[in-house]
């Protein structure tokens, strides 16, 4: 009976999910937190929702230093400073990358809200930086033009 087969498949699927969850556990325990859902998001808005930072308002206190034109998308230097007092975290996103979220940093114990990193960019895109300060979220963007993409290698 087809109905029974459905049931069996469902049961098998559920069992598989449990097994996988069990296998992944040791790694998860070893890891600090890594926001899998946010990093798997295919749009910047989704990623920000999943980071818990939706509806950020534009703020000129976030300074993005990056070249206007990046010749090589495989290595695009991006420097971010937040001048917003009490900034505790900074997220960097490249809107048009397959997975826009590049990195997220939490700052504590006297670390300044500053980070410089090299990102890969598949194509010309806005770079979006979201800073969190005092439970509020702020955003700034800057367009970087890419002449050679960096995601395919």
């Amino acid at each position: 009976m087809i109905v029974q087969r459905r049931g069996l498949l469902k049961a098998a699927g559920a069992l598989g999910a449990v097994l996988v969850a069990g296998l992944l556990k040791p790694i998860a325990a070893l890891a600090a937190t890594w926001n899998k859902e946010a990093f798997a998001s295919k749009s910047a808005a989704d990623a920000l929702n999943r980071l818990g930072t939706p509806g950020a308002e534009a703020n000129s206190g976030i300074v993005i230093e990056a070249p206007q034109i990046a010749e090589n998308g495989a290595v695009v230097p991006i420097e971010v400073t937040s001048r917003i007092p009490g900034t505790t975290s900074i997220a960097v996103l490249v809107d048009k990358n397959p997975y826009p979220l590049v990195a997220r940093f939490d700052f504590m114990e006297g670390a300044l809200p500053f980070v410089k990193l090299n990102a890969k960019m598949g194509e010309t895109s806005d770079v979006r930086v979201v800073a969190t300060a005092g439970g509020k979220h702020y955003v700034a963007t800057k367009e970087i033009k890419v002449t050679i993409g960096g995601c395919g290698g």
């Binding site: 290595v75 590049v102 990195a103 504590m108 670390a111 090299n118 890969k120 995601c151």
Partner: protein, 98 residues
């Protein structure tokens, strides 16, 4: 897989500048046909206290270089940076502020 790391920590005007290089392929899903290999977590500690926690994706360039700034700081402070990738590899390096 865990290649060498390099780090330099220097006192600048009012803050400590930490620059760290990690040796890692940072291979994306596209480059590897669905078997990405990249660093996911990195931690910066000063004298044993965590000051920066980072989560990063495959969109960080190969052999990642990061700079961080720590307010204040003194010569001899011990800075430790460690990372963990999606396959469970890990590495760390330590240096004193110069």
């Amino acid at each position: 897989m865990a290649g060498p790391m390099k780090m330099r920590a220097t006192l600048a005007g009012g803050y400590t500048d930490v620059r760290v290089l990690m040796t890692h392929p940072m291979a994306t899903e596209q480059q590897t046909k669905g078997q990405p290999h990249f660093i996911q977590n990195l931690t910066v500690k000063v004298n044993g206290k965590t000051v920066v926690e980072g989560q990063i994706s495959q969109a960080v360039a190969r052999n990642p270089v990061f700079s961080f700034r720590l307010s204040g700081g003194a010569k001899g402070d011990k800075i430790e940076v460690s990372w963990l990738d999606n396959k469970g590899d890990t590495n760390k390096t330590e240096t004193a502020v110069a």
